[in-house]
Amino acid sequence: MSNYIIEAENLCFSYKSEDGTALPVIKNLTFGIEAGSFVAILGHNGSGKSTLAKLCNMILTPDSGKLRVGGVDVTDENLTEDDIYNLRRKIGMVFQNPDNQLVATIVEEDIAFGPENLGIAPGEIRRRVDDALRAVNMTEFARHSPSQLSGGQKQRIAIAGIIAMLPDCIIFDESTAMLDPIGRAEVMETIERLNREKGITVLLITHYMDEALRADRVMVMNRGELFLDDTPRRVFSQVDKLKSVGLDVPQVTDLVNRLRTEAGFAIPADILHSAEAVEILAKLYHEIGGKH
Protein backbone atom coordinates (compact mmCIF):
# COMPACT_ATOMS: atom_id res chain seq x y z
CA MET A 1 0.00 0.00 0.00
CA SER A 2 1.26 3.43 -0.93
CA ASN A 3 1.76 6.12 1.64
CA TYR A 4 -0.20 8.65 -0.43
CA ILE A 5 -3.33 10.14 1.07
CA ILE A 6 -4.21 11.80 -2.22
CA GLU A 7 -3.12 10.36 -5.52
CA ALA A 8 -4.02 11.73 -8.95
CA GLU A 9 -3.26 10.23 -12.32
CA ASN A 10 -3.97 12.09 -15.58
CA LEU A 11 -6.72 13.97 -13.82
CA CYS A 12 -8.88 16.19 -16.06
CA PHE A 13 -11.76 18.49 -15.28
CA SER A 14 -13.58 21.18 -17.22
CA TYR A 15 -16.44 23.54 -16.48
CA LYS A 16 -19.29 23.62 -18.96
CA SER A 17 -20.11 27.16 -19.97
CA GLU A 18 -23.64 28.24 -20.91
CA ASP A 19 -23.18 27.75 -24.64
CA GLY A 20 -22.05 24.20 -24.03
CA THR A 21 -18.34 24.60 -24.67
CA ALA A 22 -16.06 22.96 -22.16
CA LEU A 23 -13.58 25.13 -20.30
CA PRO A 24 -10.69 22.95 -19.17
CA VAL A 25 -9.41 23.93 -15.71
CA ILE A 26 -7.46 20.81 -14.73
CA LYS A 27 -5.33 19.23 -17.42
CA ASN A 28 -3.72 15.84 -17.09
CA LEU A 29 -2.60 16.28 -13.54
CA THR A 30 -0.51 13.56 -11.94
CA PHE A 31 0.78 13.82 -8.39
CA GLY A 32 0.71 12.22 -4.94
CA ILE A 33 0.38 13.80 -1.51
CA GLU A 34 2.15 11.88 1.24
CA ALA A 35 0.29 11.28 4.48
CA GLY A 36 1.42 13.63 7.24
CA SER A 37 3.05 16.15 4.92
CA PHE A 38 2.44 19.89 4.65
CA VAL A 39 1.98 20.88 1.02
CA ALA A 40 1.34 24.38 -0.27
CA ILE A 41 -0.40 24.89 -3.60
CA LEU A 42 0.41 28.21 -5.24
CA GLY A 43 -1.02 29.78 -8.34
CA HIS A 44 -2.77 32.94 -9.43
CA ASN A 45 -6.57 33.13 -9.66
CA GLY A 46 -7.90 30.81 -12.30
CA SER A 47 -4.91 28.46 -12.20
CA GLY A 48 -7.17 25.59 -11.11
CA LYS A 49 -5.98 25.27 -7.54
CA SER A 50 -9.41 25.65 -5.92
CA THR A 51 -10.98 23.28 -8.43
CA LEU A 52 -8.40 20.70 -7.43
CA ALA A 53 -9.48 21.04 -3.79
CA LYS A 54 -13.14 20.55 -4.70
CA LEU A 55 -12.26 17.42 -6.67
CA CYS A 56 -10.47 15.92 -3.68
CA ASN A 57 -13.58 16.34 -1.57
CA MET A 58 -16.03 15.09 -4.20
CA ILE A 59 -17.83 18.39 -4.48
CA LEU A 60 -16.86 18.09 -8.14
CA THR A 61 -16.38 14.91 -10.15
CA PRO A 62 -13.44 14.51 -12.55
CA ASP A 63 -14.05 14.19 -16.30
CA SER A 64 -11.36 11.59 -16.72
CA GLY A 65 -8.28 10.18 -15.06
CA LYS A 66 -7.87 8.56 -11.67
CA LEU A 67 -8.13 10.17 -8.24
CA ARG A 68 -7.66 8.19 -5.06
CA VAL A 69 -8.37 9.98 -1.80
CA GLY A 70 -7.74 8.22 1.50
CA GLY A 71 -7.58 4.91 -0.32
CA VAL A 72 -10.96 5.43 -2.02
CA ASP A 73 -11.16 5.73 -5.78
CA VAL A 74 -13.48 8.70 -6.27
CA THR A 75 -13.87 7.94 -9.96
CA ASP A 76 -15.42 4.58 -9.11
CA GLU A 77 -19.01 4.58 -10.33
CA ASN A 78 -20.14 2.10 -7.66
CA LEU A 79 -19.32 4.50 -4.86
CA THR A 80 -22.17 4.58 -2.33
CA GLU A 81 -23.36 7.64 -0.46
CA ASP A 82 -21.78 6.17 2.67
CA ASP A 83 -18.40 6.00 0.94
CA ILE A 84 -18.60 9.71 0.06
CA TYR A 85 -19.69 10.48 3.60
CA ASN A 86 -16.70 8.56 4.93
CA LEU A 87 -14.33 10.31 2.58
CA ARG A 88 -15.54 13.73 3.66
CA ARG A 89 -14.97 12.86 7.29
CA LYS A 90 -11.36 11.98 6.53
CA ILE A 91 -10.68 14.97 4.27
CA GLY A 92 -11.80 18.16 5.97
CA MET A 93 -12.07 21.43 4.18
CA VAL A 94 -11.75 25.04 5.36
CA PHE A 95 -12.91 27.75 2.96
CA GLN A 96 -12.11 31.37 2.30
CA ASN A 97 -15.01 33.23 3.86
CA PRO A 98 -15.23 32.40 7.57
CA ASP A 99 -18.79 33.73 7.75
CA ASN A 100 -20.17 31.29 5.22
CA GLN A 101 -19.08 28.09 6.93
CA LEU A 102 -20.29 28.52 10.49
CA VAL A 103 -23.75 27.07 11.06
CA ALA A 104 -24.69 27.65 14.70
CA THR A 105 -25.11 30.75 16.81
CA ILE A 106 -22.83 29.47 19.58
CA VAL A 107 -19.19 28.55 19.00
CA GLU A 108 -19.23 25.13 20.71
CA GLU A 109 -22.53 24.17 19.06
CA ASP A 110 -20.93 24.92 15.72
CA ILE A 111 -17.90 22.77 16.43
CA ALA A 112 -20.25 19.97 17.46
CA PHE A 113 -22.05 20.14 14.09
CA GLY A 114 -19.74 17.73 12.26
CA PRO A 115 -19.54 15.07 14.99
CA GLU A 116 -23.33 15.31 15.43
CA ASN A 117 -23.78 14.56 11.74
CA LEU A 118 -21.55 11.52 12.18
CA GLY A 119 -23.90 10.21 14.86
CA ILE A 120 -21.30 10.15 17.62
CA ALA A 121 -22.40 9.70 21.26
CA PRO A 122 -23.04 12.96 23.17
CA GLY A 123 -20.28 12.43 25.77
CA GLU A 124 -17.73 11.75 23.06
CA ILE A 125 -18.81 14.84 21.11
CA ARG A 126 -18.34 16.96 24.24
CA ARG A 127 -14.81 15.59 24.64
CA ARG A 128 -13.93 16.21 21.00
CA VAL A 129 -15.34 19.75 21.06
CA ASP A 130 -13.26 20.59 24.12
CA ASP A 131 -10.15 19.09 22.50
CA ALA A 132 -10.76 20.98 19.28
CA LEU A 133 -11.27 24.27 21.13
CA ARG A 134 -7.97 23.70 22.91
CA ALA A 135 -6.18 22.82 19.67
CA VAL A 136 -7.10 26.20 18.17
CA ASN A 137 -6.64 28.12 21.44
CA MET A 138 -10.25 29.26 21.61
CA THR A 139 -11.46 27.57 24.81
CA GLU A 140 -12.48 30.84 26.44
CA PHE A 141 -14.78 31.63 23.51
CA ALA A 142 -16.79 28.39 23.75
CA ARG A 143 -20.07 30.12 24.60
CA HIS A 144 -19.60 33.18 22.35
CA SER A 145 -21.61 33.92 19.25
CA PRO A 146 -19.57 33.79 16.01
CA SER A 147 -20.72 37.30 15.13
CA GLN A 148 -18.75 38.62 18.10
CA LEU A 149 -15.46 37.18 16.80
CA SER A 150 -12.75 38.60 14.54
CA GLY A 151 -12.08 37.06 11.13
CA GLY A 152 -9.06 35.12 12.39
CA GLN A 153 -11.01 33.79 15.36
CA LYS A 154 -13.94 32.72 13.17
CA GLN A 155 -11.54 30.89 10.89
CA ARG A 156 -10.01 29.08 13.88
CA ILE A 157 -13.53 28.00 14.90
CA ALA A 158 -14.08 26.69 11.38
CA ILE A 159 -10.84 24.72 11.74
CA ALA A 160 -11.95 23.39 15.14
CA GLY A 161 -15.20 22.23 13.53
CA ILE A 162 -13.16 20.14 11.12
CA ILE A 163 -10.71 18.83 13.75
CA ALA A 164 -13.64 17.56 15.82
CA MET A 165 -14.38 15.09 13.01
CA LEU A 166 -10.84 13.67 13.49
CA PRO A 167 -9.77 14.03 9.84
CA ASP A 168 -6.58 12.62 8.35
CA CYS A 169 -6.13 15.60 6.06
CA ILE A 170 -7.36 19.19 5.94
CA ILE A 171 -7.51 21.25 2.75
CA PHE A 172 -7.36 25.00 3.29
CA ASP A 173 -8.85 26.75 0.28
CA GLU A 174 -7.39 30.27 0.53
CA SER A 175 -8.44 30.31 4.16
CA THR A 176 -6.23 33.28 4.98
CA ALA A 177 -7.11 35.48 2.00
CA MET A 178 -9.76 37.55 3.78
CA LEU A 179 -7.87 38.01 7.04
CA ASP A 180 -5.75 40.88 8.34
CA PRO A 181 -2.07 40.22 9.17
CA ILE A 182 -2.84 39.35 12.79
CA GLY A 183 -5.62 36.93 11.80
CA ARG A 184 -3.39 35.36 9.17
CA ALA A 185 -0.61 34.82 11.68
CA GLU A 186 -3.04 33.17 14.13
CA VAL A 187 -4.41 30.83 11.50
CA MET A 188 -0.98 29.92 10.07
CA GLU A 189 0.33 29.15 13.52
CA THR A 190 -2.69 26.89 14.13
CA ILE A 191 -2.22 25.10 10.80
CA GLU A 192 1.46 24.43 11.43
CA ARG A 193 0.75 23.09 14.89
CA LEU A 194 -1.94 20.70 13.61
CA ASN A 195 0.50 19.32 11.09
CA ARG A 196 3.44 18.95 13.48
CA GLU A 197 1.64 17.82 16.62
CA LYS A 198 -1.40 15.92 15.38
CA GLY A 199 0.21 14.65 12.19
CA ILE A 200 -2.69 15.88 10.07
CA THR A 201 -1.84 16.17 6.38
CA VAL A 202 -2.20 19.79 5.32
CA LEU A 203 -2.95 21.00 1.81
CA LEU A 204 -2.66 24.78 1.89
CA ILE A 205 -3.99 26.65 -1.14
CA THR A 206 -2.74 30.20 -1.00
CA HIS A 207 -1.28 33.08 -2.91
CA TYR A 208 0.88 34.31 -0.07
CA MET A 209 4.49 33.32 -0.66
CA ASP A 210 5.48 33.63 2.99
CA GLU A 211 2.88 31.00 3.88
CA ALA A 212 4.15 28.62 1.23
CA LEU A 213 7.67 29.03 2.64
CA ARG A 214 6.56 27.18 5.76
CA ALA A 215 5.45 24.05 3.89
CA ASP A 216 7.49 20.87 3.24
CA ARG A 217 6.62 21.01 -0.41
CA VAL A 218 5.31 23.59 -2.85
CA MET A 219 3.21 22.81 -5.90
CA VAL A 220 2.83 25.69 -8.34
CA MET A 221 -0.18 25.50 -10.63
CA ASN A 222 -0.53 27.37 -13.89
CA ARG A 223 -3.42 27.03 -16.36
CA GLY A 224 -4.53 23.75 -14.86
CA GLU A 225 -1.10 22.16 -15.05
CA LEU A 226 1.55 21.48 -12.50
CA PHE A 227 4.19 24.11 -13.24
CA LEU A 228 6.66 23.44 -10.43
CA ASP A 229 6.64 20.80 -7.71
CA ASP A 230 9.51 20.71 -5.25
CA THR A 231 10.76 21.79 -1.85
CA PRO A 232 10.20 25.50 -1.06
CA ARG A 233 13.96 25.97 -1.28
CA ARG A 234 14.18 24.74 -4.85
CA VAL A 235 10.89 26.30 -5.98
CA PHE A 236 11.71 29.76 -4.72
CA SER A 237 15.19 29.71 -6.22
CA GLN A 238 13.51 29.81 -9.64
CA VAL A 239 12.61 33.46 -9.33
CA ASP A 240 12.19 34.20 -13.04
CA LYS A 241 9.99 31.18 -13.60
CA LEU A 242 7.70 32.17 -10.74
CA LYS A 243 7.45 35.74 -11.97
CA SER A 244 6.56 34.48 -15.45
CA VAL A 245 3.33 32.95 -14.10
CA GLY A 246 2.31 36.08 -12.21
CA LEU A 247 3.59 35.05 -8.79
CA ASP A 248 5.79 37.01 -6.45
CA VAL A 249 8.77 35.65 -4.66
CA PRO A 250 9.54 36.57 -1.06
CA GLN A 251 11.44 39.88 -1.00
CA VAL A 252 14.62 38.48 0.51
CA THR A 253 14.68 35.66 -2.04
CA ASP A 254 14.28 38.26 -4.76
CA LEU A 255 17.12 40.39 -3.39
CA VAL A 256 19.51 37.48 -2.96
CA ASN A 257 18.69 36.26 -6.45
CA ARG A 258 19.49 39.66 -7.93
CA LEU A 259 22.73 39.96 -5.98
CA ARG A 260 23.76 36.58 -7.32
CA THR A 261 22.70 36.91 -10.96
CA GLU A 262 23.13 40.65 -11.61
CA ALA A 263 25.97 41.62 -9.29
CA GLY A 264 27.81 38.29 -9.32
CA PHE A 265 27.85 37.69 -5.57
CA ALA A 266 29.04 34.24 -4.55
CA ILE A 267 25.72 33.15 -3.02
CA PRO A 268 24.16 29.70 -3.47
CA ALA A 269 20.96 29.72 -5.55
CA ASP A 270 18.77 28.06 -2.97
CA ILE A 271 18.81 30.53 -0.09
CA LEU A 272 15.37 30.48 1.48
CA HIS A 273 15.32 32.06 4.93
CA SER A 274 16.56 35.50 5.74
CA ALA A 275 18.80 34.20 8.54
CA GLU A 276 20.79 32.19 5.97
CA ALA A 277 21.05 35.21 3.71
CA VAL A 278 22.25 37.43 6.55
CA GLU A 279 24.88 34.88 7.49
CA ILE A 280 26.24 34.58 3.96
CA LEU A 281 26.24 38.32 3.27
CA ALA A 282 27.95 39.01 6.59
CA LYS A 283 30.60 36.43 5.77
CA LEU A 284 31.19 37.91 2.31
CA TYR A 285 31.32 41.42 3.75
CA HIS A 286 33.81 40.62 6.47
CA GLU A 287 35.97 38.68 4.02
CA ILE A 288 36.48 41.88 2.02
CA GLY A 289 37.96 43.36 5.17
CA GLY A 290 40.19 40.29 5.61
CA LYS A 291 41.99 40.92 2.34
CA HIS A 292 43.30 44.28 3.47
Binding site: N45, H207, L255, S274, A282
Partner: protein, 293 residues
Protein backbone atom coordinates in the same frame (compact mmCIF):
# COMPACT_ATOMS: atom_id res chain seq x y z
CA UNK B 1 -6.95 80.87 -10.72
CA UNK B 2 -3.96 79.23 -9.13
CA UNK B 3 -6.15 78.49 -6.13
CA UNK B 4 -8.82 76.71 -8.16
CA UNK B 5 -6.34 74.19 -9.53
CA UNK B 6 -5.04 73.16 -6.15
CA UNK B 7 -6.12 69.69 -5.10
CA UNK B 8 -8.52 69.49 -2.19
CA UNK B 9 -7.31 68.59 1.26
CA UNK B 10 -9.37 67.09 4.02
CA UNK B 11 -8.91 67.06 7.77
CA UNK B 12 -10.46 65.88 11.01
CA UNK B 13 -10.41 68.35 13.87
CA UNK B 14 -10.91 67.03 17.41
CA UNK B 15 -13.22 64.32 16.12
CA UNK B 16 -14.83 61.84 18.47
CA UNK B 17 -17.08 59.14 17.11
CA UNK B 18 -19.20 56.84 19.24
CA UNK B 19 -21.18 53.82 18.08
CA UNK B 20 -24.63 52.77 19.29
CA UNK B 21 -25.15 55.79 21.52
CA UNK B 22 -27.69 55.18 24.25
CA UNK B 23 -27.49 51.38 24.11
CA UNK B 24 -25.45 49.05 26.32
CA UNK B 25 -23.10 48.60 23.36
CA UNK B 26 -21.98 52.24 23.20
CA UNK B 27 -18.30 52.45 22.29
CA UNK B 28 -15.94 55.15 21.12
CA UNK B 29 -14.30 54.24 17.80
CA UNK B 30 -12.34 57.49 17.71
CA UNK B 31 -11.55 59.80 20.56
CA UNK B 32 -10.47 63.37 19.95
CA UNK B 33 -8.62 62.76 16.69
CA UNK B 34 -7.04 65.50 14.62
CA UNK B 35 -5.32 64.73 11.35
CA UNK B 36 -4.94 66.14 7.88
CA UNK B 37 -4.61 64.54 4.47
CA UNK B 38 -2.54 66.64 2.09
CA UNK B 39 -4.00 67.52 -1.28
CA UNK B 40 -2.60 66.18 -4.55
CA UNK B 41 -0.84 63.08 -3.25
CA UNK B 42 -1.57 59.47 -2.35
CA UNK B 43 -1.62 58.94 1.39
CA UNK B 44 -1.47 55.40 2.75
CA UNK B 45 -3.50 55.19 5.96
CA UNK B 46 -2.31 52.22 7.97
CA UNK B 47 -3.21 50.62 11.24
CA UNK B 48 -4.24 47.27 12.62
CA UNK B 49 -7.88 46.14 12.72
CA UNK B 50 -9.78 48.23 15.21
CA UNK B 51 -7.47 51.23 14.93
CA UNK B 52 -10.35 53.30 13.53
CA UNK B 53 -9.34 53.33 9.84
CA UNK B 54 -12.71 52.37 8.42
CA UNK B 55 -14.55 54.81 10.68
CA UNK B 56 -12.32 57.61 9.41
CA UNK B 57 -13.14 56.65 5.81
CA UNK B 58 -16.87 56.98 6.45
CA UNK B 59 -16.45 60.23 8.37
CA UNK B 60 -14.54 61.80 5.48
CA UNK B 61 -17.43 61.62 3.03
CA UNK B 62 -20.20 62.26 5.49
CA UNK B 63 -21.63 58.74 5.75
CA UNK B 64 -21.01 59.00 9.47
CA UNK B 65 -21.42 62.20 11.41
CA UNK B 66 -18.87 62.94 14.12
CA UNK B 67 -20.31 62.81 17.63
CA UNK B 68 -18.04 65.72 18.41
CA UNK B 69 -15.61 67.78 16.33
CA UNK B 70 -15.49 68.69 12.66
CA UNK B 71 -14.56 67.25 9.28
CA UNK B 72 -12.97 70.02 7.21
CA UNK B 73 -13.00 69.81 3.42
CA UNK B 74 -10.71 72.56 2.13
CA UNK B 75 -11.09 74.21 5.50
CA UNK B 76 -14.91 74.14 5.60
CA UNK B 77 -17.00 71.97 7.91
CA UNK B 78 -18.85 69.44 5.75
CA UNK B 79 -21.73 69.38 8.25
CA UNK B 80 -22.20 73.16 8.09
CA UNK B 81 -25.43 72.53 6.21
CA UNK B 82 -26.52 68.90 6.72
CA UNK B 83 -28.91 69.16 3.75
CA UNK B 84 -25.96 69.57 1.41
CA UNK B 85 -24.17 66.46 2.59
CA UNK B 86 -24.90 64.62 -0.66
CA UNK B 87 -22.87 67.28 -2.48
CA UNK B 88 -19.96 66.39 -0.19
CA UNK B 89 -20.34 62.72 -1.14
CA UNK B 90 -19.85 63.73 -4.78
CA UNK B 91 -16.65 65.58 -3.89
CA UNK B 92 -15.25 62.85 -1.64
CA UNK B 93 -15.58 59.41 -3.24
CA UNK B 94 -15.42 56.28 -1.09
CA UNK B 95 -14.67 52.75 -2.23
CA UNK B 96 -15.56 50.25 0.49
CA UNK B 97 -13.72 47.06 1.35
CA UNK B 98 -14.78 44.24 -1.02
CA UNK B 99 -16.71 46.78 -3.13
CA UNK B 100 -17.82 44.12 -5.64
CA UNK B 101 -20.86 43.62 -3.37
CA UNK B 102 -22.24 46.96 -4.58
CA UNK B 103 -22.68 45.86 -8.22
CA UNK B 104 -26.32 45.57 -9.27
CA UNK B 105 -26.87 46.75 -12.85
CA UNK B 106 -27.50 44.64 -15.91
CA UNK B 107 -24.32 45.61 -17.66
CA UNK B 108 -20.87 46.69 -16.53
CA UNK B 109 -21.17 50.01 -18.35
CA UNK B 110 -24.50 50.86 -16.70
CA UNK B 111 -23.14 49.99 -13.29
CA UNK B 112 -20.18 52.32 -13.70
CA UNK B 113 -22.62 55.03 -14.87
CA UNK B 114 -24.81 54.73 -11.73
CA UNK B 115 -22.78 57.18 -9.60
CA UNK B 116 -22.37 59.91 -12.26
CA UNK B 117 -26.03 59.35 -13.20
CA UNK B 118 -27.03 60.38 -9.66
CA UNK B 119 -25.11 63.63 -10.05
CA UNK B 120 -27.41 65.11 -12.68
CA UNK B 121 -24.78 65.32 -15.40
CA UNK B 122 -25.43 65.39 -19.14
CA UNK B 123 -25.41 62.04 -20.92
CA UNK B 124 -22.35 63.16 -22.87
CA UNK B 125 -20.43 63.97 -19.71
CA UNK B 126 -21.50 60.69 -18.11
CA UNK B 127 -20.27 58.71 -21.12
CA UNK B 128 -16.96 60.53 -21.08
CA UNK B 129 -16.43 59.89 -17.37
CA UNK B 130 -17.44 56.25 -17.62
CA UNK B 131 -14.97 55.66 -20.44
CA UNK B 132 -12.22 57.44 -18.49
CA UNK B 133 -12.88 55.55 -15.28
CA UNK B 134 -13.05 52.20 -17.05
CA UNK B 135 -9.65 52.87 -18.58
CA UNK B 136 -8.02 53.82 -15.24
CA UNK B 137 -9.54 50.93 -13.35
CA UNK B 138 -8.49 48.47 -16.06
CA UNK B 139 -11.99 47.50 -17.21
CA UNK B 140 -11.46 46.46 -20.82
CA UNK B 141 -14.10 47.25 -23.50
CA UNK B 142 -14.89 43.57 -24.07
CA UNK B 143 -16.48 43.51 -20.60
CA UNK B 144 -18.67 46.60 -21.10
CA UNK B 145 -21.83 44.81 -22.19
CA UNK B 146 -21.44 41.82 -19.90
CA UNK B 147 -23.38 41.35 -16.68
CA UNK B 148 -21.19 42.29 -13.72
CA UNK B 149 -22.18 38.99 -12.11
CA UNK B 150 -20.44 36.86 -14.72
CA UNK B 151 -17.04 38.49 -14.18
CA UNK B 152 -14.15 37.08 -12.16
CA UNK B 153 -13.44 38.41 -8.67
CA UNK B 154 -10.67 40.73 -9.83
CA UNK B 155 -12.73 42.09 -12.72
CA UNK B 156 -15.68 42.80 -10.42
CA UNK B 157 -13.37 44.70 -8.11
CA UNK B 158 -12.17 46.86 -10.98
CA UNK B 159 -15.73 47.62 -12.13
CA UNK B 160 -16.68 48.65 -8.59
CA UNK B 161 -13.67 50.97 -8.30
CA UNK B 162 -14.44 52.44 -11.74
CA UNK B 163 -17.98 53.15 -10.50
CA UNK B 164 -16.61 55.54 -7.89
CA UNK B 165 -13.81 56.95 -10.07
CA UNK B 166 -16.47 57.86 -12.65
CA UNK B 167 -17.90 60.35 -10.18
CA UNK B 168 -14.60 62.19 -10.63
CA UNK B 169 -14.23 63.04 -6.95
CA UNK B 170 -11.68 65.59 -5.78
CA UNK B 171 -10.75 63.21 -3.00
CA UNK B 172 -10.92 59.45 -3.40
CA UNK B 173 -10.81 57.19 -0.35
CA UNK B 174 -10.28 53.46 -0.92
CA UNK B 175 -10.63 50.95 1.91
CA UNK B 176 -8.31 47.97 1.27
CA UNK B 177 -8.76 48.08 -2.53
CA UNK B 178 -6.53 45.03 -3.09
CA UNK B 179 -7.79 42.80 -0.25
CA UNK B 180 -8.05 39.12 -1.11
CA UNK B 181 -6.52 39.43 -4.60
CA UNK B 182 -3.56 37.47 -5.88
CA UNK B 183 -0.20 39.29 -6.38
CA UNK B 184 -0.91 40.05 -10.04
CA UNK B 185 -4.37 41.43 -9.21
CA UNK B 186 -2.94 43.57 -6.40
CA UNK B 187 -0.37 45.11 -8.71
CA UNK B 188 -2.93 45.87 -11.41
CA UNK B 189 -5.38 47.56 -9.02
CA UNK B 190 -2.83 49.59 -7.07
CA UNK B 191 -0.88 50.51 -10.19
CA UNK B 192 -4.12 51.67 -11.83
CA UNK B 193 -4.99 53.87 -8.86
CA UNK B 194 -1.55 55.42 -8.96
CA UNK B 195 -1.74 56.13 -12.70
CA UNK B 196 -5.18 57.67 -12.15
CA UNK B 197 -3.84 59.97 -9.44
CA UNK B 198 -0.85 61.00 -11.53
CA UNK B 199 -3.12 62.06 -14.38
CA UNK B 200 -5.94 63.64 -12.35
CA UNK B 201 -3.59 65.15 -9.77
CA UNK B 202 -6.33 64.72 -7.17
CA UNK B 203 -6.12 63.59 -3.56
CA UNK B 204 -6.14 59.89 -2.75
CA UNK B 205 -6.27 58.08 0.55
CA UNK B 206 -5.68 54.33 0.53
CA UNK B 207 -6.46 52.38 3.67
CA UNK B 208 -4.35 49.27 3.95
CA UNK B 209 -2.53 47.05 6.35
CA UNK B 210 -0.03 45.98 3.77
CA UNK B 211 3.22 47.83 4.44
CA UNK B 212 4.78 46.27 1.36
CA UNK B 213 2.12 47.73 -0.93
CA UNK B 214 1.89 51.16 0.66
CA UNK B 215 5.65 51.58 0.68
CA UNK B 216 5.55 51.30 -3.10
CA UNK B 217 2.29 52.99 -4.09
CA UNK B 218 1.74 55.81 -1.56
CA UNK B 219 3.55 59.16 -1.48
CA UNK B 220 3.12 59.55 2.25
CA UNK B 221 2.16 57.15 4.99
CA UNK B 222 0.07 57.79 8.08
CA UNK B 223 0.26 55.21 10.85
CA UNK B 224 -2.69 54.98 13.21
CA UNK B 225 -2.58 53.46 16.65
CA UNK B 226 -5.77 53.25 18.71
CA UNK B 227 -7.32 56.12 16.79
CA UNK B 228 -4.29 58.40 17.00
CA UNK B 229 -1.68 59.29 14.44
CA UNK B 230 1.49 57.68 15.70
CA UNK B 231 3.62 58.66 12.71
CA UNK B 232 3.27 60.55 9.42
CA UNK B 233 5.79 60.97 6.64
CA UNK B 234 7.38 59.41 3.58
CA UNK B 235 7.97 55.69 3.46
CA UNK B 236 11.63 56.35 4.23
CA UNK B 237 10.74 58.31 7.39
CA UNK B 238 8.36 55.63 8.55
CA UNK B 239 10.65 52.68 7.94
CA UNK B 240 13.52 54.40 9.74
CA UNK B 241 11.41 53.70 12.81
CA UNK B 242 10.56 50.15 11.88
CA UNK B 243 10.66 48.91 15.49
CA UNK B 244 7.76 51.19 16.27
CA UNK B 245 5.56 49.62 13.59
CA UNK B 246 5.78 46.31 15.33
CA UNK B 247 4.50 47.89 18.52
CA UNK B 248 1.36 49.22 16.81
CA UNK B 249 0.57 45.78 15.41
CA UNK B 250 1.69 46.31 11.81
CA UNK B 251 3.99 43.90 10.11
CA UNK B 252 7.07 45.42 8.55
CA UNK B 253 8.06 44.47 5.02
CA UNK B 254 10.26 41.39 5.04
CA UNK B 255 13.02 43.38 3.36
CA UNK B 256 13.00 46.03 6.11
CA UNK B 257 13.41 43.35 8.75
CA UNK B 258 16.19 41.83 6.68
CA UNK B 259 18.08 45.13 6.49
CA UNK B 260 17.82 45.47 10.26
CA UNK B 261 19.25 41.98 10.67
CA UNK B 262 22.13 42.91 8.37
CA UNK B 263 22.88 45.88 10.61
CA UNK B 264 22.94 43.57 13.63
CA UNK B 265 25.39 41.30 11.79
CA UNK B 266 27.77 44.24 11.47
CA UNK B 267 27.04 45.40 7.92
CA UNK B 268 26.55 49.18 8.15
CA UNK B 269 23.61 49.48 5.72
CA UNK B 270 21.31 52.44 6.15
CA UNK B 271 17.90 52.21 7.85
CA UNK B 272 14.64 53.13 6.17
CA UNK B 273 14.85 50.65 3.32
CA UNK B 274 11.57 49.11 2.21
CA UNK B 275 11.87 47.93 -1.38
CA UNK B 276 13.94 45.21 -2.98
CA UNK B 277 15.35 47.80 -5.41
CA UNK B 278 16.66 50.12 -2.75
CA UNK B 279 17.97 47.21 -0.68
CA UNK B 280 19.84 45.94 -3.74
CA UNK B 281 21.44 49.32 -4.37
CA UNK B 282 22.30 49.78 -0.72
CA UNK B 283 23.99 46.39 -0.39
CA UNK B 284 26.00 47.04 -3.56
CA UNK B 285 26.99 50.49 -2.32
CA UNK B 286 28.18 49.26 1.05
CA UNK B 287 30.16 46.38 -0.47
CA UNK B 288 31.82 48.67 -3.02
CA UNK B 289 32.67 51.20 -0.34
CA UNK B 290 34.46 48.56 1.65
CA UNK B 291 36.27 47.17 -1.38
CA UNK B 292 37.63 50.61 -2.02
CA UNK B 293 38.77 50.64 1.59
Amino acid sequence: MEEAKKAASIALRDVTYRYSIGTPFEKAALENVSLEFEGGIITGLMGHTGSGKSTIAQLLNGLLKPTEGQVLLDGRDIWEDPKKISAVRFRVGLVFQYPEYQLFEETVLRDIAYGPGNMGLSQEEINRRVADAARFAGVTPDLFEKSPFELSGGQKRRVAIAGVMAMDPEILVLDEPAAGLDPRGRKEILGGIRAYQREKKNTIIIISHSMEDMAVYADKLMVLDHGHVSRYGTAHDIFCHAEELKQVGLSRPQITKFIMELQKAGIPVESGIYTVDSAYREVLRIFKEKERG
